[in-house]
């Protein structure tokens, strides 16, 4: 079914949703911040 194939093609073209060095940097920074918060919270817990 050509219509479905076109839609699937359009959808797959959108992936990956975000792919840039800047996003990776921001994402990993956010990740590290949250892990740090968790770590500090564990200390607080102890």
């Amino acid at each position: 079914e050509n219509s479905l194939l076109r839609q699937v093609s359009s959808l797959l073209r959108r992936l990956p949703a975000i792919e840039s060095e800047r996003f990776q940097d921001d994402f990993l920074m956010e990740y590290n911040d949250k892990l740090l918060i968790t770590y500090l919270a564990m200390f607080t817990n102890c």
Partner: protein
Amino acid sequence: ASDGIFYYDDVAQAKFQQEKPWANDPHYFKRVKISALALLKMVVHARSGGTIEVMGLMQGKTDGDSIIVMDAFALPVEGTETRVNAQADAYEYMVEYSQTNKLAGRLENVVGWYHSHPGYGCWLSGIDVSTQMLNQQFQEPFLAVVIDPTRTVSAGKVEIGAFRTYPEGYKPPDEPVSEYQTIPLNKIEDFGVHCKQYYALDITYFKSSLDSHLLDLLWNKYWVNTLSSSPLLGNGDYVAGQISDLAEKLEQAENQLAHSRIGGIVPATLQKKKEDEPQLAKITRDSAKITVEQVHGLMSQVIKDILFNSVRQ
């Protein structure tokens, strides 16, 4: 059958108003049923206020020991915690709205007021208690609802509380067990002084068959927005405030421990009252809550990243 709740019986309501069963029992009303429409309107209104408190009124009816909230409308006032009676600015609006409602065929009366506590939890402050006591003196049956739109986003569920105050001088026989919630340090005194002057009602929700259908359609439209949003990014200020508050509480607890005679080595089980949690235990719970919310937010971001960013052509 589920739509039967929407029927308004004029005669029964008038009879109930005459009988006044709440006059003899300060604890008469135990339950609140809020319609999906009223809840949505209140939460959206509260969220639209941002960090400023907003307020509105609720319309509905009573059914035995339940207050049923059918609808809600916003009042053109803000900053309810900054003055003694914020409602006073909106009396004219309230009266005109109620009259117009009756003309439009809405039979329900005003059964309560709601306001928001952005970021500091669902409870009644001193001003709220005095406002509600006044309302309960002259406008019974009346209910106070508090919504925290910031914590709603952070926790992923609606933070809402429904309260009724006790009459002046009344001491409740049993202390009700309420769900623990974090209170910021700058509000803790206001909370503590008045927390015994009111009690919380159980909240349930209901919706009509049409509401269910419309909400399903809305979900189909808005699920993308829901998936795209992240409490980590949207609620950054609130989280920073929470962590700062936690730090202040820790400092306070540390000072108290330093000043206590035994040097702070007092296990929880040796406390006189079992309900009186030591301050450090409360701080631990608060920190766990903040962490869990952050971890949830991070998990959703990581899952979205894996699902949508790791696939390549």
